[in-house]
Amino acid sequence: MSVRVQRDDFDVSREMDALLTGRKDIGGVVSFTGLVRDFSDDRNVGALTLEHYPGMTEKALAAIEAEAHERFDIQASLIVHRFGRMEPGERIVLVIAASAHRGEAFRAAEFLMDWLKTKAPFWKSEDTPDGPKWVESRATDDTATERWS
């Protein structure tokens, strides 16, 4: 179990290898990588800037991860979330869940992402043709969070 908040990019293979090194009880590993898209609600998006709440962010990510271990039969997990300015195509966030059974790994990874969307103190600002614009929280993200409660 570990969480990281960082400016720098990450490497999925390296994170996965570090998480699973020496383990032979893992049957399946699910990773989710979130990327900056160049469109969002039909506006063209040039780049994304992520602001966060240092101190609270780390605690919130650790709480979300602990909740996933409560709810799912997973043996290892990782959350890496970047902040700062990122161009389209760049990686923003990485979630990994590893389990003896593939269904649990899928479920846990999706849960982690759903909760990150609405329970991790990040705020996104998009560069648009009309200038920077704060991304509003989505009703679909609230729905996705609620289905786990």
Binding site: M56, L116, K117, P121, D141
Partner: protein, 83 residues
Amino acid sequence: MKLLYFAWIRERTGVHEETWPLPKGTATVQDLIARLAERGPGFAHAFADVKQIRAAVNQETAKLDAPVSDGDEVAFFPPMTGG
């Protein structure tokens, strides 16, 4: 107390982080919002629509009726958009 503002609340108040004495009679997050909204046009604009505002007390998400006291770190921000 320590106050923090994020995203468009930070932009409207023009402040990211400050130390501010807890005004007398301020018992809850909601009371604090009411006092902050009186600090000038930027603060009034930032706190105009309470429905759009979320808060954390000592780095834990807090509801409007959560108590606040002078040693607290209180943060205000829009709904989170992580992931």
